[in-house]
Assembly symmetry: C3
Homo-oligomer: 499 residues x 3
């Protein structure tokens, strides 16, 4: 520790350069200008958001404005939007001194990511070959929010250890990879994945874990004092948890089929989530000597049911099937937080989590347990439920609608569909792991302004942090006052002696 200085705030600072004054504005400006140019070239309103709608309506014999897709999907869109910005954002405020970074950087990268997602998803999914344009409507906005979610999940594994510039890079590549794997899974393999167990959660989780693995910091214990929550930061995080939990039915139903599709997806997700709350509480309580609950579990594992229903929610999984999914994933996710990857236990240093001890992988928010693992499970659950579909349960027409067995896929059987669903899950994981490893290597280039090992989880590095709680100064003052009085006594003693 030769080249360290003892700062007034009490930690050692390495001569690592965390100044992002040039790089962060440069990235923001260049990328935003690029977005404007590319939007100018490619993006247009679709027929339902264009002023020509009045003509379109007449031509297509649409009798009412209420048939505009806006009214089918806008309420779900707004719920998804809340999940992306308040849900993910506040879930990451749990650290005692990284709440600004948690909610603020989430805000930044989601705002960038959704623009890039509109382009990437547009090129892959809805580029009109005749005009060379991408036509966007409310469903595009939902998909763009979904696409960001992958990168925000990855942020969960990196929370506190990377610079905002690195996060912008994570998002640029994350959205790009997302659009490609989504194209492969949804279009080429013709999988169904309305709530994104595969394309969002499994991909995003493994993407973040792979990056974190490449960026492993052996001396991260130097920031241990900041890797934990305080009372109020845990309450802030519950805002994130609850908005995610409450609006997950909208997430999984946002882009499913009109009518019964959206209806069923919402019901299934609602039930799975309720079920995983109970098993999370049960396992959390069992794991402690006196049955006390751990906020980390309540904040995270309660959501596992929603993640795991991402694929199957629109299927006829049945209400009790949904409860079973939530039941199992609540247990698995909580066990994950207990043994596989969790935040440091500040008071018990030998309890290193499995992932860190054996795989040299540090996962700040435990995205492995909340997204990667339940997402993967959700993919396979979807495969099984798809393979088990029958005409009697779905009706002949219903089966075609739900699995979209049309065009070149008209003759695909449900068994085959199940196989493709499983294959899609593997594709998502592979994209996450390989893509994450490559992006991790890019992030190791020492130009991004990442924090030193003893400086992680600290908002001071990238934010102007206000002076400490207003309650402190009077206390100090009071003590000084008291102490001075003592000095007087001591000094008076002294003088007595001397006399």
């Amino acid at each position: 520790m030769g080249n360290c200085c003892d700062c007034v705030t009490g930690f050692f600072c390495r001569p690592k350069n965390t100044n992002v004054r040039v790089s962060l504005p440069a990235v923001c400006f260049v990328w935003q200008i690029a977005m404007i140019i590319l939007f100018g070239v490619f993006i247009r309103y679709d027929e339902e958001s264009d002023a020509h709608w009045v003509e379109f309506k007449r031509e297509h014999n649409i009798t009412s404005d209420i048939e505009n897709d806006f009214y089918f999907r806008y309420p779900s869109f707004q719920d998804v939007h809340v999940m992306i910005f308040v849900g993910f954002g506040f879930l990451m405020t749990f650290l005692k001194r990284y709440s600004f970074g948690g909610v603020g950087f989430n805000f930044l990268i989601a705002a960038f990511g959704l623009q890039w997602a509109l382009l990437m998803q547009g090129w892959f999914h809805s580029l009109d070959p005749a005009t060379g344009k991408i036509y966007i409507g409310v469903e595009s906005l939902i998909n763009a929010d979904f696409c960001c979610a992958g990168s925000l999940i990855a942020y969960g594994a990196l929370l506190g250890k990377v610079s905002p510039v690195q996060l912008m890079v994570v998002t640029l590549f994350g959205v790009t990879l997302f659009a490609v794997e989504e194209y492969i899974i949804l279009t080429l393999l013709h999988c169904r994945d309305a709530g994104g167990s595969m394309v969002i959660h499994a991909f995003g989780g493994y993407y973040g874990l792979a990056i974190s693995w490449v960026l492993y910091r052996p001396n991260l214990h130097q920031s241990k004092r900041l890797n934990g929550s305080v009372y109020h930061s845990d309450v802030f995080a519950m805002i994130g948890t609850l908005f995610l939990w409450m609006f997950w039915p909208s997430f999984n139903s946002a882009i499913t089929d009109h009518g019964d599709g959206q209806h069923r997806a919402a019901i299934n997700t609602y039930l799975a989530l309720a079920s995983s709350v109970l098993t999370t509480v049960a396992i959390s309580s069992m794991s402690q000597k006196t049955g006390k609950l751990d906020m980390v579990h309540i904040q995270n594992a309660t959501l596992a049911g929603g993640v795991a229903m991402g694929t199957a929610a629109e299927f006829m999984i049945t209400p009790y099937g949904s409860l079973i999914v939530g039941f199992c994933t609540g247990i698995i996710s909580t066990f994950g937080y207990l043994y596989i990857s969790l935040i440091y236990d500040c008071y018990d240093s030998h309890s290193q989590p499995f992932l860190e001890k054996y795989l040299k992988l540090q996962d700040t928010c435990g995205v492995h347990n909340l997204h990667a693992l339940p997402g993967m499970l959700g993919g396979f659950i979807g495969a099984i439920v798809a393979a088990a579909a029958t005409e009697s349960v779905y009706s002949a027409e219903g089966l075609i609608n739900v699995f979209d067995f049309e065009g070149s896929f008209a003759n695909r059987g449900v068994g085959t569909q199940g196989g493709f669903q499983a294959a899609g899950t593997c594709v998502a994981i592979a994209f996450g792991l390989v893509g994450g490893a490559i992006v991790g290597l890019i992030l190791r280039i020492p130009i991004w302004g990442d924090p030193a090992d003893d400086n992680c989880y600290d908002d001071e590095v990238y934010w102007e942090v206000p002076e400490d709680e207003e309650s402190i100064p009077p206390v100090l003052e009071y003590n000084n006052h008291m102490i001075h009085k003592h000095q007087d006594i001591s000094e008076s003693n002294f003088s007595v002696e001397q006399s």
Copy 2:
């Protein structure tokens, strides 16, 4: 205090067993497994959420998916869902050291309650005798959330004084009683109660008060130091207040008739709530020597207008009628907080509230003033407005629609309807009081792990609470440092003397 130990945290701990390591997981697992089995036997998708919808649509000449009930009710459902989990949850974070318990146990019991509610309400209201199945859709989800609300209201009276296992019992019986009284009131008495002034608020309020009365703790003053708010916990509670306040129009309109019914219920509730804010502020300010406002009133009594409009919101109460209801209930509720039941005034011990002094009843959140009393008033307001209904105001058809005067009730007059509405209110209160007393006796069995009298309102009992605010350690360190310096001075004095 012979068998007490002086803990480091500064309070005395009784040898009361608060260990829930066996009971809490056992209850969660057993009940969740029971839910899965019962759902497997009874619960199915209804025709609007089933994949057969496409056939159903054709058979019933439904021209568009937008006619699916999902699009009529889902936005309201999501608002109600927010009220249940964020609204009720955060409203109960106001205590300085019970925020985890407030929001966390609310989460747990609501997640359990809504499953049990789907079954109980299904058996009573929508069991198909032909198939023996309950068919659920979005309206069932709203009703399940409503049904939970009764138990969450009861939790408000018990906050900080019961264990999570006891809360699960409160919810199990609460939901059961709710379904029975709801069946009697809505089906047998054929009352209208869209927003649940009677079936939710009056029932839930008196249910909680009766339980709290049976569980009276004469030595609760030993936990006085924790029965109060701190600055930030009061701000957290405002999150709950505002989401309840904003979404109450959705609550009262969520299950009213399509079209004008939902429209009118939202308008009436919006107006009543606005009005009660002003009178709450007025009374709160008048009650203090210098006109200062009390956060307890703002957090709670502002909502009384919504509670009191639960029955009448769908009627033609007129906009100014709604304002009058809000005006009066805002005053009554604030007076309730001032004189009938309120949280302890930590600094003025002789100001015991009426309920505690004369009825030996401790009501942590003052549910008497926010739910029980305004709910009862709402029931009677509904009775009066129903009795005053005329064909000229409602139109002949409108009268039949609003009061559902069909089938065996085709000949019921509005006067009779008013009488039944009043009777329904009494039934709700009776169910609450008798049911609560019985459940209270069950909860007195000493196996549930409830906290000791000097240990109430403390998250430490059931939660892993993180170390205190990060600001404290440096202060202590600083003091120790200073004190050590003094010791040096003192010791040097000593040595001078000895020399």
Copy 3:
């Protein structure tokens, strides 16, 4: 400072009377009773919320209840409602000791304002001359919320410096002025301003600034210690920011045309907001020596894109046009916070902001930068986009629909429309400045109970504030304990000496 007393809390208190025990309840009661009477005389349900809807439907060949305007606008209404109460409310909790006042007074004045707005807007826009009644529906509720927003914006400039009674006066006149300028701009000048860049933001911003200018406090630096945030208050403010940011697409689309109008307005606003996040971050980072971000910018300037799209959102501004608007306003707004008006920098007293130094104007929340300036820009952007409209882009029918070129305005060209839009912006600003100056003079009458200069930004003045953080007492106790031990040592020294 002869007549000052040194209080225990450490500040000097002037003999200024901040007692509102008579005035606040009086204003609340009188105004609420007036509302009830006026509602009784004027306000009725419109045909879509009246029980006669079933007849209306038949007469107008409406085939489905889903055609009720409720289903077109209610989800947007609820989002707007959240923006008004949680968005504006929590955005103003950023001050370390004015969170109660920020969120609580916002709640009070919005609840009053919306009632008065229903009347004022009703008289100007929808009074039925035949019956002398105002008929309200969901669109009226949205407009009432919008109307309040003007006064809430003005509150932002006054935060911490005025009494609740003054705020009620600000709201009474604010809503009145709003309804008049809105009538002039929307009806007489026939401008389009769906999201209210002109009528809400430019008006509200300049209204607040003018009041603040008249109420200039030369000795406000005496409250400097409280004019700043603490860590957790900044996180609370982010709740406000994010709910405003997320729901702004609903704000700008809430009252636009059914179908493509709402759809397009939501898309445009979504894009503009995303773009302004990136440029806000860029400028914020550039402005600090080490590239650190400032929470004030993130909390506020990120919203500028939504403000600036208030007028043009429903036009065919194109997706990239929206991005450009967000790009520019994010930069301008952040520069505003840096140089024009910002909160005190507590640690650098010579960095007085431009507005305060040269115009003697104190703007607590910087509404100049977030509302006044971007609102004005939004008005002119709307003018330009309107003037540039063509039939090929809008279609002939679309052009008529979007600009409402019907009746006496059937022959107005787009160029003329652009001119009127620009004129409308000037009218809004003029109303704000002149109206605000007059209201400011009224507020200078010394009867409203406003705080002293050294007492601003302090909840203690108007709220019962709970004792400080629970963490403090044990610390003090601990210190006393330690100190007593020292006294013993000292005293024992003393006795040794004396012996």
